[in-house]
Symmetry: C2
Subunit: 151 residues, 2 copies
DNA sequence: AATAATCGTGGGTGTGGACCCACTATAGGG
DNA sequence: CCCTATAGTGGGTCCACACCCACGATTATT
């Protein structure tokens, strides 16, 4: 095993930043892979979650909250609306605005997706026991809050 | 602050997998950004590190170790060789093979890049104290080893 | 020798992400 | 009213990343 030809350079593994980027990438990959089976992407999940947590948004507001381009969000909203996960209603007070509202179906779907995400997470965090998972989560939350949370 | 229109959905932040992907992404981004200033990418750093840690490799071996496509690695080796960071010598025993060897200049460069990476890391980990950083590093290392390390 | 396998390499492809511009419809200020 | 600003949207661009194929050079096999 000293001569494992696929071992990564130890000097890189000493860099926490490298590990973060590496582990984060596989996490992202596994999540995306799972969602792709349903024809969805990560931001679809994020949109549903945001609507569930904060209630209806105009497209612009939702784009701002999630740090997405309004144009891209519009396309994603298209798909979610087509799938019946959300309603798009023209705001009568300002007819330029479209208000996105989660449907009951969307709420159900969100629950399913969250369950799938948790399944993926269980695989990823398999090497850790319950206490360590809590620890990791807390540390990551601090890092998330510490920089660029608004994006 | 209850009504911060840019706050992320709490239900997502409860998912460690999501946090991992999010934090990992900014880590990757910051590292890449820093390296880009030198006209390099993450895998350039990985190549230099691997050569420093394990000594000379043929291109094929290095590609296997880093999980890169041989063709892509060849292109990257081009640039590193052009910059004088490594030597490409034809193996006299098997003239198909090119052996990549770190030059002294390459070793120096690697030290510089590592220092830059550590600077980035210091920013990223700013919210954590020394003990927490050690903790985080250990947890990530377990996760890294736990799945897909060979990639 | 002749044939098969291997290394490096050039030149692709496909995908995803982030971004951006022009345009319509609508609203609001003077 | 006219002019400016804003919401949404369609249609792009650009870049990174991963992958893959074909080919020349070389080596191994028989």
């Amino acid at each position: 095993m000293e001569t494992d030809p696929t071992a990564a350079p130890p000097s890189l593994l000493e860099l926490t930043a490298y590990l973060l980027s590496r582990v984060g990438k596989t996490a992202r990959g596994r999540l995306a892979e799972r969602l792709a089976a349903d024809g969805l992407r990560l931001f679809h999940l994020a949109m549903l979650a945001a609507l569930a947590d904060f209630g209806p948004h105009t497209q612009r507001d939702l784009a701002r909250r999630l740090g997405l381009d309004p144009s891209d969000l519009a396309k994603a909203a298209d798909q979610l609306a087509a799938a019946g996960h959300l309603d798009r209603t023209r705001d009568p007070a300002d007819r330029r605005r479209l208000t996105l509202t989660l449907t009951t179906a969307g709420r159900t779907r969100l629950a399913e997706l969250t369950a799938e995400a948790e399944a993926v997470q269980a695989e990823l965090l398999a090497p850790l026991d319950a206490a360590e998972r809590v620890q990791l989560h807390a540390l990551l939350l601090r890092l998330y809050g510490g920089s660029g949370n608004g994006n």
